[in-house]
Symmetry: C2
Subunit: 160 residues, 2 copies
Amino acid sequence: MSSPGFEPHDHHHCIADGVAAAERHCAERRLQFTPVRRRVLEILLGQHKALGAYEILDILRAEGLGSQPPVAYRALDFLVAQGFAHRIERRNAFIACTHLEQRHAPAFLICRACDRVVEAQADPEAGELGRAAQAAGFVIERTVREAEGLCPDCSPGMPA
Amino acid sequence: MSSPGFEPHDHHHCIADGVAAAERHCAERRLQFTPVRRRVLEILLGQHKALGAYEILDILRAEGLGSQPPVAYRALDFLVAQGFAHRIERRNAFIACTHLEQRHAPAFLICRACDRVVEAQADPEAGELGRAAQAAGFVIERTVREAEGLCPDCSPGMPA
DNA sequence: GTCTGCAATGTGATCTTGTAACAACCTTAC
DNA sequence: GTAAGGTTGTTACAAGATCACATTGCAGAC
């Protein structure tokens, strides 16, 4: 597998690569990759867990980068709009994107025991949703695909 | 199609059938189908829209069935646990189940213009999520599949 | 150089959604 | 009848998200 699953790996790469890609993307489009936006992305890239807006805000506050909810939400909105982060609806939380290379409709595996989240690829028009939409004459604009359960390390049947 | 899509139909059937099925289900399992639970199910069955817990609470309050948030949330938790209703994560709202007959992993089509929601069938182990889970050794316990977009009536390209 | 307009930030207030905790009540089993 | 467990009533509060408006900072126009 080329994209990180539940296996251990080096986070430094995740962070450096993610920030670099965002930097490039923003430069190309004349978008401002401001300190708050950069820092929020770094925070998200630092963990393969979904972080709530207020958890992020706590960190920003401690670092003097902003103390009110809109600060965090604005940065998150920007990151989500640019595809650098995704919202995990089931958790009301956010996670850095791990498939920056291509346009994609993300799907997530969320471990309810250790809270880790893995992003998988998905074709927005494929699968059950696409089939149902086609049958109903429905035009899909956005999809939410999230599975909750146990990751290999937390599954009792097959302890890593 | 045997299950209601976005076509018009008679809601009285939806409500009567849904309540009757829930009544049977509860009787079989010695579960209490109390007035609040019944009423909340009726309210949900009355519309093919997702209703927020506080919208439901407003109705209960007006009818003297309870005025505090836990009243609504408890009834909703019960209905969801029994499969009579589903939570729409994308909306933080709830909708009556329209596929009571069988065990299923629901998928939803949500129209952002008229707010109607249609439930489709889905195999929990199938599709992108199932494939990703299998590849990662992940055990799925619950899935969220929601598509947001425009229903046939609200789609500009193809006005009903 | 200065003006203008837009994007981003700072901040207080408020709104929405969801839970914790505990008392009171009702139903069922024994 | 009584004990146990499920259900409801109610207060309080936690968590998540947005609104509104003032302010700042920078890029392009003049």
